[in-house]
Symmetry: C2
Subunit: 347 residues, 2 copies
């Protein structure tokens, strides 16, 4: 088992087949899909069609997967509580997507029109609010206030991270520590709480719940760095969302930060001027520069570091049923990075 | 005591002095102001200044007043639960204002810049989300999930009402029943839950809690009709917010609905064409037409009807300490209407 000090290169290579993991979570995931379809009926009749559009089941369901995997107790063990908790975190996430797409002026998400494009930005603001509210309403159906308390706090942190990033668009003075804090809040927070809730609701001992919480946080940071890399290196058709929006909206992410570190002072000044002037950087041009300068390995290293930390937190719990599945999640992300950048120097 | 069948004209004239009511709620209101200032510290450091801007204490604190009045048990009876519940509903309300002002492109609220104008609409979307989240986080600090459950459901309904109104801008086919449903959701719902929570947390018997709930709903509908009237008839300097936004954004409210009923077919066609074409109606011109056609009395009658229903629900509970204060709230609204339209024909 990897520890925090283990160099990422000694981690096992990613398995080629993750069907085991999907098969394991399938009963819970199918129950979640039924749960989300039934949730549509809890919205006022006049907005049900819009709610259904946002709750559509074509998403990756990453956060529910975290809940189900962290709460895994063995084959045949089914828990309605896990399904409900997964519904809460997924609905919070879908609400944030609706609002993110307004701000990013994104038109396409999951290969179809965003809610903002479909219903207009004004209705999308309110629709996101209704989804947030309903997520907390589901959370309030647990016997105690714990889920409400944790999820409402996480949601506030997610929004705070997004605010920081929004207010600092086109600001090239952002430090690596500040970038890390922003992605910790805007992404890792909901990963963290998903893993916490899964382990906790499945009745795991407090020490494992704490480890699952930390695992989720590191995995979330790794995932967001990967997502920022996709925005540079992905192909729009394959990923199914508008790419290059970070560059177009002047969001400073790790790939761009590394690029700025490595270019000549003249090129740096030109990029900064374009960012500050509100002009989009030429996406193709900067992708080419990323490749020329070998930015890929630096970004991949940052992802690997987080995955190593995540694995290290689980190391003392190798005997728990959930641990192998959680470890597989880290491996899956690593294999996605590899698929994106067959050689780390490709971007 | 008025009953639902009592003609509004037989209701007692509004008292000239409401200091009694303000004096009664003052200890709770001062505690709320301290509570809201302390709440700022619970936001992430990077967004505290923005949160403080939104939680500023210059608002009317209408919904907290409803909580305190409905939960009134007598002089010297102080309840932290009432303060916390008031903090929840006020923070939900402030969040909706932040989002409303984005959609209405309003620049001024309470005689200063809106959050949207101050921080930009993108940050304001997220700031409203953070306020919503924190409101639910406060709600989760009660011993049971009841407050979370009620407030999250109310918040979803408020958003649904706003969505309906947003999607039907410039739509002149809205019926009176549809208008009523929209204001019931977008405004009366939070009034209703404020009164419910006040009475319930103060330990009143279920029958009174139900009556307080219904009282709050009717008062909320009356208040929204009044607010729609202010948008036509108020003076910007005195009211402290951008007026005429309903007309400018094509929102069909009761004054405009009555106007459309009473104008000639030609004038109706011209107003509809202006609304549908996305052109603002000339505010001054339509105000003048409202006066000429005596729209005021019809609007005032609708307000009086709701106030009569509200009073009727309290009639069986005249012996409860909260009842006289709640009745005063209805009287206050009536006196505000009178102040706005010294003669009901003025608009």
């Amino acid at each position: 088992m990897a520890s925090a000090a283990t160099p990422p290169s000694t981690l096992p290579p990613p398995p080629r087949d993750f069907h085991g993991l999907y098969r394991h979570v399938a009963p819970h995931m199918e129950a979640l899909n039924r749960f989300m379809r039934a949730e549509v009926e809890n919205f006022e009749p006049e907005i049900r069609e819009m709610a259904a559009y946002c709750l559509d089941t074509t998403g990756k369901r990453l956060r529910p997967t975290l809940v189900f995997v962290s709460g895994w107790r063995g084959p045949g063990v089914f828990s309605d509580d896990l399904v409900r908790a997964a519904g809460v975190v997924e609905m919070v996430h879908l609400a944030t997507l609706v609002h993110d797409d307004i701000m990013d002026r994104a038109e396409i998400r999951r290969s179809r029109r965003t809610a903002s494009r479909e219903y207009g930005p004004d209705a999308a603001v309110l629709l996101g609010d209704a989804l947030f509210s309903q997520a907390l309403h589901i959370a309030s159906q647990f016997p105690t206030t714990e889920v409400c308390r944790l999820v409402s706090e996480s949601t506030r942190k997610v929004c705070s991270g997004e605010i920081m990033q929004t207010l600092r668009r086109r600001d090239i003075t952002i430090s690596l520590a500040e970038y890390r804090r922003m992605i910790d809040l805007k992404t890792a927070e909901l990963f963290r709480v998903s893993c916490f809730l899964g382990a906790r609701l499945a009745g795991y001992a407090p020490a494992f719940v704490t480890a699952a919480d930390a695992f989720g946080r590191h995995l979330g940071i790794a995932y967001q760095i990967y997502d920022d890399l996709v925005d540079f290196a992905g192909e729009e058709e394959r990923v199914g969302k508008t790419l290059g929006t970070d560059l177009a909206t002047g969001k400073l992410t790790l790939p761009l930060m590394l690029l700025l570190e490595r270019v000549s002072p003249e090129e740096k000044a030109a990029i900064i001027a374009a960012l500050r002037g509100g002009q989009p950087l030429g996406l193709a041009a900067s992708r080419q520069r990323m490749r020329d300068l070998g930015i890929g390995p630096g970004v991949v290293q940052a992802i690997e570091d987080e995955l190593a930390h995540a694995a290290a937190r689980l190391a003392p719990f190798s005997g728990e049923p959930a641990t192998p599945l959680m470890t597989q999640l880290g491996d899956m992300l690593r294999s996605q990075v590899t698929a994106l950048l067959p050689s780390a120097g490709a971007v």
